[in-house]
């Protein structure tokens, strides 16, 4: 499996100046593309932070693409790389704000309650243990559903027929709720 690192490598400061100039030129030419990615991914959520995030993405992309041969970088490749860096920036921004990147729920720990961290950690552990107990396919269906994927997406990713994907998600979530209730999270 081809991998990307969680934290981009520092830009190679020993690279020849001409290479750096080419890279700077490349990124300047793709600034519009980066702005489009941030706009598409962030939408109205990042209205006030858009320029900061664009800058952050630009720097991250610079570091990341500094290891590549600019001439080999197709617009599609750069767009996808910018997409990753934008997602990363938005998640960092969400963490800084003390919020989930996608949704702030009502779980213990989302408010300033006494022992909130402990309660929240226990809930997270209960969820993880309950998921781990599910049979493989149901566990995968439940995890993908919890990641926000739709049935059509799950079926495509897993190579399942629609009906199978739908049933696995429904049954897995039902089993998960039973397991969570057994761990003290009751109706």
């Amino acid at each position: 499996m081809e991998h990307v690192s969680a934290d981009p490598l520092p830009f190679d400061t020993n690279a020849p100046a001409a290479g750096q100039a080419r890279l700077e030129d490349f990124l300047a030419r793709h600034k519009g593309l980066i702005q489009r990615v941030v706009r598409h991914v962030g939408g109205r959520r990042v209205e006030l932070l858009r320029e900061d995030i664009e800058q952050e993405v630009l720097i991250s992309l610079w570091r990341r693409l500094g290891r590549e041969q600019p001439l080999d970088l197709t617009p599609s490749y750069v767009y996808k790389a910018a997409l990753r860096e934008t997602v990363r920036s938005l998640r960092r921004e969400g963490s800084r704000g003390g919020q989930s990147a996608t949704f702030q729920g009502d779980w213990p720990g989302s408010a300033n309650e006494p022992f909130a961290d402990v309660s929240h950690r226990e809930c997270v552990e209960a969820l993880e243990k309950s998921l781990a107990e599910l049979p493989d396919d149901r566990q995968r269906a439940a995890r993908l559903h919890l990641q926000g994927f739709r049935v059509e997406e799950i079926m495509t990713m897993c190579g399942w027929p629609y009906q199978r994907a739908r049933n696995l998600v429904a049954r897995a979530m039902a089993d998960l709720r039973v397991a969570l209730r057994e761990r003290g999270i009751r109706d």
């Binding site: 969680a6 779980w107 109706d187």
Partner: protein, 219 residues
Amino acid sequence: VTESRKLLSDEALRSLYADTASSSDHPSEETLAGLLEHGTSSDERERVVDHVSRCGECADVLRHLARCVECAPETGVKPLGRRGQPPRSWPLWGGLAAAAALVTFLAWPPGPNRTLGTPDPGVLRAGAPAGLAPVSPAGPQKGTPTDLRWTGVPDALAYRVVVRDARGEQVFSSPDLSETSCPWPAARTFAPGAYTWQVLARTRNGEETASALAHFSLP
């Protein structure tokens, strides 16, 4: 309605899972995009899916690749919503609900660049009772609706409504309701554009069933 019931909702569980789902050693974006192409299952695919199922960052990237119509020309990845794969569960939803959806659809067809929202998969089991159907809002709205209304079913213990934007992202989920209407969430800001909504009924056997989708737009 108890607090613990809310804790077991899809939204709350997703929020909690977001705190567990993190990873490193991410697959490349090209590899992620490959998951959206139909193909036979393989060990490589399984490894990547397994990673995505546990990694919030890669899930965010993949969801965006799968859904963003505007990005498609640049990424070369065809959003799944454009592949014309309607859920096979539609015929099971009952005649009246399907007819209501068809009437709504014909009266206000979606534009070519909008991705229709999908029903909550966690509640699709035996299909919606025939009487469970959104009433209003439907179609273009002149202003902000005052409430969401639907026809109920006799054996429902509680209802909740879910509103999604044109990309299918959930933008509002109500608490459990005992009436067949829900005040419009005035505290939330809704951008002008197309939305879908549906009502979900929880019945005495503890299962939830979902209505057909209703479409409306805000000025």
